[in-house]
């Protein structure tokens, strides 16, 4: 089992790059025309503060924040595919 320092040596640069990528993505969205707060963006903004939590289980909490938690079960699908964020009708 590696120590915390050994893990940082192995993975810090990768994690740093991913955080910068998310920051740049949000800047890019702001710079471009269109509706600013569509459901995917709302869901992402809701998930980001979880990263700053001191509790374990951050990955699980982010996944839950990006999940459909409704009880609705339609007869058939209105569309195929997934967007990665809960439907617009869910509370932000």
């Amino acid at each position: 089992m590696p120590t915390r320092k050994e893990l940082l040596d192995m993975q810090f640069i990768d994690a740093r790059a991913r955080v910068i990528d998310v920051a740049a993505f949000l800047d890019r969205i702001d710079r471009h025309p269109g509706d600013g707060e569509e459901p995917r963006l709302k869901a992402l903004r809701r998930a980001l503060p979880i990263l700053l939590s001191d509790s374990p289980g951050r990955a699980k909490a982010v996944l839950e924040a990006l999940s459909d938690t409704s009880d609705v079960m339609p007869e058939s699908a209105a569309f195929q595919g997934a967007t990665g964020a809960p439907p617009a009708s869910e509370p932000a």
């Binding site: 089992m1 590696p2 893990l7 192995m10 993975q11 289980g57 990955a59 699980k60 996944l63 839950e64 990006l66 999940s67 459909d68 938690t69 409704s70 079960m73 339609p74 007869e75 058939s76 699908a77 209105a78 569309f79 195929q80 595919g81 997934a82 967007t83 990665g84 964020a85 809960p86 439907p87």
Partner: protein
């Protein structure tokens, strides 16, 4: 190091990929029936697909000394049309006794609809009637949590079902514990963009344990990597895991679950 690839869609891959898998140590792979990236125009198209899974792919794999097994069903996405799905299911009895068929899969939900659930439950009943193991697909992205819960509730209603005969695939941090607590096996899919990265899969092993869990590439026609399992094995090695532990996850665990099928046999 030898390993088993328990979930790969080789109909979508080149023959070169079979060679790469063999060079990486893959001894056997299992191919669940799935969505082709488009809806088939007729149930008869599935007859050809099931022939591909039971005749063509085993022969391709054998050229590289890899044992090929498959799972049969109509996939969740095309199961949203129940009339169509039931026509496809009438083809299954002609194929379930083929020597490389392990069981029923990958059944499941896609958009968590009542139509999909009805066909899912008919497949589970078919597996129960024939004493076959079941491989279950969980939905993508935002639909996974809800779909996993729905299917666990449904499976709990099958009184004769042995939960250890069922593997629920594509688990992530928010679904793995509920699957294991229900007594099922859990599969982690290693994808570059969705599902689990190798680092997260190893985290899940660290937090949830090494029992009743496997990892797979689920390589198909989309963004995926047929060598994802050996890459994760390498990452485990970098993180200090012993050969025995790596072998348990990459070889022993899939062998143990797959042995629930009488057709599973690693002898060439």
């Amino acid at each position: 190091m030898s390993y088993i690839e328990p979930h790969a869609h080789m109909v979508s891959r080149t023959t070169d990929d079979y060679e790469k898998l063999a060079l990486a140590g893959c001894e056997a792979l299992c191919e669940p029936a799935f969505w082709a990236g488009f809806d088939r125009s007729s149930p008869q198209a599935f007859h050809d697909y099931f022939r591909q899974l039971t005749e063509v792919e085993p022969a391709r794999a054998a050229k590289f000394a890899i044992r090929h097994f498959c799972w049969l069903c109509i996939n969740p996405k095309e199961a949203d049309d129940p009339g169509f799905a039931r026509e496809v299911m009438t083809l299954l009895p002609d194929f379930l006794d083929k020597p490389n068929v392990l069981g029923i899969g990958e059944i499941g939900l896609n958009k968590n609809t009542r139509n999909e659930l009805a066909i899912f439950e008919e497949h589970v009943q078919l597996a129960l009637d024939r004493g076959l193991p079941v491989l279950i697909h969980t939905p993508h992205l935002e639909d996974k949590l809800k779909g996993t819960r729905i299917m666990l509730d449904s499976l709990a209603n099958f009184s004769g079902l042995d939960p250890s005969m069922v593997i629920i695939d594509h688990v992530e941090e928010h679904t793995v514990r509920m699957v294991l607590d229900a007594g099922h096996w859990a599969g982690m899919t290693l994808y570059p963009e969705s599902k689990c990265t190798p680092s997260r899969a190893i985290d899940i092993l660290e937090t949830e344990g090494l029992e009743r869990i496997w990892m797979n590439s689920a390589c198909d026609w989309g963004v995926s990597d047929p060598l994802a399992v050996p890459r994760c094995m390498l990452e485990m090695k970098r993180r200090g895991y012993s050969r025995e532990t790596i072998r348990k996850v990459a070889f022993d665990n899939p062998r143990d679950f797959l042995s629930a099928s009488t057709n599973f046999n690693l002898d060439i």
